[in-house]
């Protein structure tokens, strides 16, 4: 490697908070943690916090309201409500934990084994899980109670067994998904034993869902237990919140507050558990939720809000005179993502270029150069959290991003997408909705955008499929995305992109995910279509070979900045910028010039035919 490249363009780093910090920052999560902590303190320190034994009955002072001696009053036999609440916390929480513990002890190991090893154990345990999940919970609990007495602990153990399938399924699914991941295979190859793999890799994946599930299960256990006790089916000699609820209902007209305290305790605890589970889930899965910067702070985000705002729906700022003829003009575009610390991480920095009607512009760069982000800015398909921090974009003489907008105007772009600007994505399989047929996904947008009838759209779709080189359009039309090969899917996507006769096609690395032989054909297709329809194309790629093949002009990006742009032949032959030179050098130096991978003696048409044959064989299976 040569000396490290200068990092220009992208500024700022991605700030990722730790999970616990995330939970605590989430106001609901923080509240949940506080409540649960308080409950645990109550339970643990019950002996110290409770002035009376929970069953001590001051029979002369029943249903008294709160005073200095009995903080929350007394119940119908003169027992101190506060003491019962506090001791009840202990029993209620312990019994819920017992339920969860039983469920985990049964569900987790069996899920791990079933998920990892599969086979007979998997089959048998799945059947057992089916049995357990088909059992109506309360009825089983009632029967257990009838058979073995009303003990809280017994019913929680029984309930734990009923809840085990949840953990089993969770663990099994997580294990199965991870088992097939590449890094597990790598670990196997490296010689790690099964237990090591399970404990090290799989456990860490499973950890979070288990914790979330436990929080939820504890809530459910408390609810069920109180329900049974409310029905009078609990063991009333042990103070639990459910028993107190039952007491409260019996005396509701005389002393409504009796009901309030246990209901509040139960509600708060269950609520806190659920909120904690939610906060945990959010912390692990979602991206940061960025708070709006305080006014007056000197962060980058504050600066942004000062200069730019949400796009105005009706604004018709006019573009610079003399630039209307360009199909697309990007001027000093800056795109960034607000971070948790108030800064903005820029992914596109001061990029300017234009594309005219009928010309093909290639945007080249390595991963992370900001080329896709630029393309999405033009399309208006940036993620929610993205912000335009500088510059503007105009399409056919109208601003889609005016100089004061902090986001792309969906109102304006909504008109263009599909009709005048279209998109060919990189990865064909994940860009088709797996639940609908290919035909449906072609026809419906056409009906909507072009306002034609279904039969006409179907005709067009079939013709398009033919145009993009699909051998048997009807079969493909009726197929689902998972039933066709990658190459065919990409052709379908291309067909979709041109179906509404756009002026501009933005192709984001359209061939990267395809087999090399298919790549060539798809590129040919794009070229033919472009010539035939006269559309403008922005082709994002990291492959100079593709650029050489298709593009009229090229722009080179590095770390969010545009380093060089110009005519393809000029750039390729005489790159001026050192980075461009490096890029070209690392691809072409000491190598045979790349040619299209067509076997000697075969024409392009034969190559297409051969490729389709392969696709059809796949489809026929």
């Amino acid at each position: 490697m040569n000396e490290p490249l200068e990092f220009v363009g992208q500024t700022g780093t991605v700030v990722r908070s730790r999970v616990i910090a995330k939970i605590l920052k989430n106001p609901l999560g923080l509240a949940a943690v506080i409540v649960l902590f308080a409950m645990v303190v109550l339970a643990v320190l019950a002996n110290m916090l409770a002035p009376f034994d929970p069953n001590f009955a001051n029979i002369g002072k029943s249903l008294a309201s709160g005073d200095a001696v009995n903080l929350l009053g007394t119940d119908s036999v003169g027992r101190d409500v506060w003491s019962r609440l506090v001791f009840g916390a202990r029993t209620t929480l312990l019994s819920a934990l017992l339920c969860a513990a039983v469920a985990i002890v049964i569900g987790l190991p069996s899920g791990l084994i079933a998920g990892y090893y599969g086979g007979k154990f998997d089959g048998v345990s799945n059947w057992v899980v089916n049995v357990l999940m088909s059992l109506p919970g309360i009825i089983v609990l009632l029967t257990v109670r009838a058979a073995m007495g009303p003990s809280v602990w017994l019913s929680m153990v029984a309930f734990g067994i009923l809840m085990a399938p949840g953990y089993f399924r969770l663990t099994r699914t997580a294990v199965q998904s991870v088992r097939n991941e590449l890094y597990v295979d790598a670990a196997r190859v490296a010689g790690l034993s099964d237990t090591a793999i399970i404990s090290r890799h799989i456990f860490s994946v499973v950890r979070a869902p288990i914790i979330i599930q436990t929080a939820v299960i504890c809530g459910v256990a408390i609810a069920i237990q109180s329900g049974l006790e409310f029905l009078g089916l609990g063991d009333a000699s042990v103070a639990t919140w459910g028993v107190m609820l039952n007491e409260g209902f019996k005396n509701i007209y005389l002393s409504p507050l009796l009901l309030l305290w246990p209901a509040l305790a139960i509600g708060l605890t269950i609520g806190a558990l659920v909120l904690l589970a939610n906060a945990l889930r959010d912390a692990l899965e979602d991206a940061e939720k960025i708070k709006a910067p305080r006014r007056g702070s000197d962060t980058a985000q504050a600066a942004l809000t000062a200069t730019r705002r949400r796009p105005d729906r009706n604004e018709a700022a006019s573009v610079e005179a003399g630039t209307e003829h360009h199909l697309v003009k990007v001027s000093h575009l800056g795109v960034g993502y607000p971070q948790a610390d108030g800064s903005i991480k820029k992914v596109v920095d001061d990029v300017s270029f234009h594309v005219d009607r009928g010309e093909v512009l290639g945007i080249v760069g390595e991963s992370g150069s900001g080329k896709s982000q630029t393309a999405f800015s033009i399309l208006g398909l940036l993620p929610e959290s993205a912000r335009i921090v500088a510059g503007s974009i105009q399409f056919d003489g109208k601003f889609t991003v005016s100089p004061t907008d902090d986001r792309v105007s969906q109102a304006r772009l909504g008109e263009f997408r599909g009709k005048r600007i279209s998109y060919i994505p990189q990865e064909p399989m994940s860009n088709l909705d797996p639940a609908f047929t290919i035909g449906y996904q072609l026809v419906t947008p056409m009906m909507r955008v072009l306002k034609i009838s279904k039969s006409e759209a179907t005709q067009r779709a079939l013709k398009l499929l033919d145009d993009v080189g699909i051998r048997f359009p009807e079969k493909t039309f009726a197929a689902y995305p998972h039933e066709v090969s990658g190459g065919m899917a990409q052709r379908v996507l291309i067909a979709g992109a041109i179906s509404c006769e756009p002026d501009l096609i933005i192709a984001d690395e359209p061939t990267t995910a395809l087999d090399v032989t298919v790549q060539a054909d798809v590129l040919d297709l794009i070229r033919d279509l472009q010539k035939g329809l006269g559309v403008g194309v922005i082709l994002v790629t990291h492959n100079f070979g593709v650029v050489a093949d298709l593009c009229d002009r090229v722009a080179v990006m590095q770390n969010g900045r545009l380093v060089e742009d110009g005519d393809v032949r000029d750039i390729l032959r005489n790159p001026k910028d050192p980075y461009t030179q490096k890029l070209l050098g690392s691809m072409l130096e000491n190598k045979e010039p790349l040619t299209m991978l067509v076997s000697a003696g075969m024409s392009a048409g034969q190559a297409i035919a051969r490729d389709d044959e392969r696709d059809e064989k796949e489809m026929a299976q």
Partner: protein
């Protein structure tokens, strides 16, 4: 990005909610305005098993049977025996043959005629069917048809309670065509003032009856329609009463307060006594209980007045005896046998050889948890540890009868002396599972059995014996809190949990 459909959907939901609100309500508010109500809707605590009279049971279920079936003798609200299907009756000299003269103008709803043969069929069948109240026929030896309107029942031995039983399940008369069939289980066939309306009824939820045309006693038919709603949950029952869905319901002292607040009329009567049964008097399970001083000590340990005031809001009367005031065996002075005196209790315990107290284990179920907590506290104040063991509701009586425990908290209805004696005192009594007896007591019991008209007086002596010997720890006679709406008049029925169906009438 507008989210139009969502707000539309919410609006639809809101509109639906409002629409439902508008078309709900007012359906069952019993709104008969100012006109005299011709419908009586009652809440009942217990569901009937079947409509077969052999499944009838004393207490809560009787009114439902009374709606469709007549009995041989009718018991007035004050306990007096009035003629019904039997016009007069009398015993022979040694109280072993009861002869009844019967009405001749009664037909069943299927057209069959009521006569002595029908009465005999019913009585014989009741004895054979061995239903829940089969004990009522225990002393019945045989039934003879003297003539079409006279029947003579021969008893094994004198039974002072027998004519009372003829006002209960034993006396219910079903059509001879339907006796013992399967059909009568679901569709009753009697001669009573109302007939069953199967179409409007739902088993286990509500039973509806309509006025019977051609009934022989118009005075007993106060309403055009009578329906019973089975509402076992106290809260649901209270809600139904307070909101006007039912006209009468049995509540408890606490929910009674809400009913009073809603303007409902309270009818209080005392039917049960509540306390602790100490049937382990033989000492097998708990040796301490064999000592009469221990049992007496326990009686002194309870501050009955305070407990009644706190737990039952003073709805009741404290008592030290198990026989009720109307039973005839009541001795007023006995109610002062055990005033609240923890010091005396401790002293007695020491005398009996238990200065440190002892432990007594009793069963408990949901309904008695609260009062047992109170009892536990009071006993621990004199050094006795009361251990409670939670058992399933269904096992409570069975475990008592099987003698699994030395004692239990319970509530028993205070019936006629002979009934009460057979209930808990005699050696065959269910609530004397260890069959404790004493020659003195046995003689007293025999005197009651043979006492004829004097049996009640003789029973007073039994009362004194078991009270002084602390066979039980009676606490109080609780008030039955029956509430009714202002639209009806109702009289409580002596020694019955709820009023008989004949005791209801539209308000004047």
């Amino acid at each position: 990005m507008k989210f139009g459909p969502k707000s539309t959907a919410l609006a639809v939901l809101a509109a639906a909610a409002i629409a439902l609100t508008a078309c709900g309500g007012g359906t069952n508010s019993g709104g008969n305005g100012g006109a005299a109500p011709t419908t009586l809707t009652l809440a009942t605590l217990q569901d009937i098993k079947t409509f077969d009279p052999t499944d009838a049971h004393i207490g809560h279920r009787m009114p439902i049977y009374q709606a469709v079936y007549d009995s041989l003798i009718r018991r007035a609200p004050d306990g007096k025996l009035d003629p019904m299907l039997a016009t007069e009756w009398s015993y022979n000299k040694d109280q072993t043959v009861l002869t009844l003269k019967l009405r001749t103008d009664v037909t069943f709803s299927d057209g069959a005629k009521f006569d002595a043969a029908a009465a005999k069929a019913n009585l014989d069948h009741f004895k054979d069917a061995k239903g829940q109240d089969a004990y009522q026929a225990a002393s019945m030896k045989s039934v003879a048809v003297v003539d079409p309107s006279t029947v003579a029942i021969t008893l094994n031995s004198p039974d002072p309670a027998f004519s009372y039983y003829l006002t209960q399940a034993l006396g219910l008369q079903a059509s001879p065509k339907a006796i013992g069939t399967d059909g009568i289980k679901t569709v009753p066939d009697g001669s009573g003032p109302y007939v069953y309306d199967a179409k409007s009824s739902v088993k286990g939820s509500q039973y509806v009856f309509t006025k019977r045309a051609g009934y022989w006693d118009k005075d007993l038919q106060k309403f055009d329609k009578v329906s019973f709603k089975y509402l076992v949950d106290l809260t649901a029952r209270t809600n139904a009463l307070v909101s006007g869905q039912v006209d009468g319901a049995l509540l408890d002292p606490k929910t009674g307060k809400q009913a009073e607040g809603a303007g409902l009329v309270a009818h209080k009567s005392q039917v049960d006594w509540q306390g602790i049964l100490l049937y382990g008097r033989d000492g097998k399970i708990s040796p301490a209980l064999a000592n009469v001083k221990v049992r007496q000590a326990m009686n002194y340990a309870f501050d009955r007045k305070t407990i009644l005031a706190q737990q039952y809001l003073n709805e009741g009367t404290v008592t030290d005896q198990v026989f009720g005031p109307e039973s005839g065996a009541y001795v007023p002075a006995l109610d002062n046998t055990y005033p609240y005196d923890p010091a005396k209790a401790k002293a007695l315990l020491a005398e009996a050889g238990y200065p440190q107290g002892f432990t007594l284990k009793i069963p408990t179920i949901a309904g008695y948890d609260a009062i047992n907590a109170v009892f536990k506290q009071q006993l621990s104040d004199v050094g006795i540890t009361l251990q409670t063991e939670s058992i399933p509701d269904a096992n409570y009586v069975a475990d008592m009868a099987a003698g699994k425990y030395a004692g239990a908290t319970f509530q028993l209805y205070q019936g006629e002396p002979w009934v009460a004696i057979n209930q808990m005192v005699s050696t065959t009594a269910l609530y004397n599972p260890f069959k404790t007896e004493d020659p003195e007591l046995t003689a007293l019991i025999k005197a009651v059995q043979n006492g004829g008209d004097k049996s009640a007086d003789e029973a007073k002596k039994v009362n004194e014996y078991i009270t002084k010997n602390a066979w039980f720890i009676p606490m109080f006679r609780l008030n039955q809190m029956y509430f009714s709406s202002k639209k009806i008049d109702v009289q409580p029925q002596l020694q019955q949990a709820v009023p008989s169906i004949y005791n209801y009438a539209p308000a004047k």
